[in-house]
């Protein structure tokens, strides 16, 4: 199923500025829209403001100026707990609860949302299959899993209450190349089926080209350009060109989307 972009963006940044208490500017005049069903990749080096941008969506951070809208409503006006539960969140360090089994980790949001136990159980099994894990893993603790398995559990946990938006902060950054490749492939097929609105942070151009329907390039707290992967490769923007240069040959074959 192709994404069906509607006119109203799912996530919208309007003139967003984010300052640290000491006055340092982490983000300036950000204007950005994320459409329903797309995977928007925030690409940039560390300190470019991509993680800050991501955290503004689920209000782990609040903008100093401007506003962030999710599903048309300013996040500042919405109930922050409800907002966060309606948005899946995956981070590089996974952040699985070490004292909970895999099943409890995945089922945590459904449980605090008051789902009946049998429904949670079924949902956990469904999610484990969805992310390519054996159901037997449900009773294990995070420290008994490999890095790749942990990250899959992290993704399953983020999907537990079926949020329409998924925020992913370098989820595959700490994995070995083979596992990363596999998870990227699975992400694509999962995204084809689930059609979530995804904001994905990475510093890896290859990953951005492969997973993104659009790439938002960031540098020193500013949005440089937003382009579909194929156009990104042809971009004359000096920074985009520098990225393409740095990552070298063979990028064309990675960029599967964006020719439309």
């Amino acid at each position: 199923m192709e994404p069906t972009p509607t006119n109203s963006p799912v996530i919208e940044f309007r003139d967003v500025v984010y300052l640290l208490p000491d006055g340092q500017t982490l983000l300036r005049d950000l204007n950005l829209q994320v459409q329903r069903g797309e995977t928007l990749v925030l690409l940039g080096r560390s300190g470019s403001g991509k993680t800050t941008t991501l955290k503004l969506v689920n209000r782990l951070l609040s903008p100093s100026c401007g506003e962030v809208r999710v599903n048309g409503a300013p996040t500042a006006d919405s109930d922050v707990i409800r907002l966060r539960r309606s948005i899946g969140y995956v981070i590089q360090d996974v952040g699985l609860f070490p004292h909970f089994t895999v099943e409890r980790n995945i089922g945590l949001v459904p449980r605090i949302e008051g789902w009946p136990a049998d429904r949670i159980h079924l949902r956990v099994e469904e999610l484990l299959r969805m992310v390519g894990l054996d159901e037997k893993i449900a009773s294990r603790y995070p420290h008994q899993l490999s890095g790749g398995q942990r990250q899959r559990v992290g993704v399953a946990r983020a999907l537990a209450a079926d949020p329409s938006i998924l925020l992913m902060d370098e989820p595959f950054g700490a994995l070995d190349a083979l596992t990363r490749d596999q998870l990227q492939r699975e992400f694509l097929s999962l995204q084809q089926r689930l059609n979530k609105t995804v904001v994905f942070v990475t510093h890896d151009l290859r990953e951005a080209l492969r997973l993104g329907s659009r790439i938002a390039l960031m540098e020193s707290g500013q949005l440089v350009t937003v382009l579909p992967p194929q156009e990104f490769l042809r971009s004359t923007d000096p920074l985009a060109a520098a990225y393409v240069q740095a990552f070298g040959e063979g990028l064309n074959s990675v960029a599967t989307r964006g020719t439309e």
């Binding site: 409800r82 969140y89 360090d93 952040g95 609860f97 004292h99």
Partner: protein, 210 residues
């Protein structure tokens, strides 16, 4: 031989004073836990409270125990009965390790786990009770363990103000220059301290997060 004989003869009194000792230590530890854990959480979550809370607990710790008993003597209600006074003093001494370890335990929770929890939409209370406290529990317990072991020793001094406990034997023995009497107080106190240390240490390892 003499000591064993003495113990056999006075086992009734030894048992009574041991129970009294346990009561002093138990009540004061309970109070220290009830007060110390919330204060530890407070200073871990709101750094403004960190210095005043830990600083005060630290200062209390430096007051010599006999002096503290003396200071508290004129306090109304508390000073009226020796056991109240002893319990208050022991509670004050037990606070520092409990507060400090609660603080350390909560601050030591992996920030990624806390961030994931917040990002998932856990409320502050859910985060505290389902994530932070369970993950800090073994560190908090080790603070309680230190508090108990120190209290068992300190509680012997409470006999100086007439609060009872195993210190009775020790002070009596000192006054009468009778080693058997001193040992009748010191040995059970040592056994209490060691078994509390061992028992709580075992519990601590059981609850260690993986």
């Amino acid at each position: 031989m003499n000591v064993i004989h003495f113990f056999a003869q006075h086992h009734q009194e030894i048992l009574e004073l041991t129970l009294e000792h346990l009561w002093l230590v138990g009540i004061s530890t309970l109070l220290a836990v009830l007060i110390g854990i919330p204060l530890g959480i407070l200073s871990a979550h709101w750094p403004v409270w960190n210095k005043p809370v830990l600083g005060t607990a630290n200062i209390v710790q430096t007051i010599p125990s006999l002096a503290l008993f003396g200071f508290l003597l004129p306090v109304p209600w508390i000073g009226a009965r020796a056991d109240r006074l002893a319990i208050l003093a022991l509670t004050l001494y037990a606070l520092l390790p409990v507060i400090r370890n609660t603080y350390t335990g909560i601050r030591g929770v992996d920030p990624a786990v806390v961030e994931a929890g917040r990002g998932m939409g856990l409320t502050g209370r859910q985060l505290l009770f389902q994530v932070e406290l369970p993950m800090a529990v073994s560190v908090i317990l080790s603070g309680i363990r230190v508090a108990v072991v120190v209290s068992v020793g300190l509680a012997t001094i409470a006999a100086a103000i007439g609060a009872g406990g195993l210190g009775e034997f020790i002070f009596r023995g000192l006054a009468m220059v009778n080693n058997q009497l001193i040992l009748a107080g010191a040995i059970p106190a040592a056994v209490l301290a060691l078994s509390a240390d061992f028992g709580l240490g075992w519990l601590e390892r059981r609850l260690q997060p993986r």
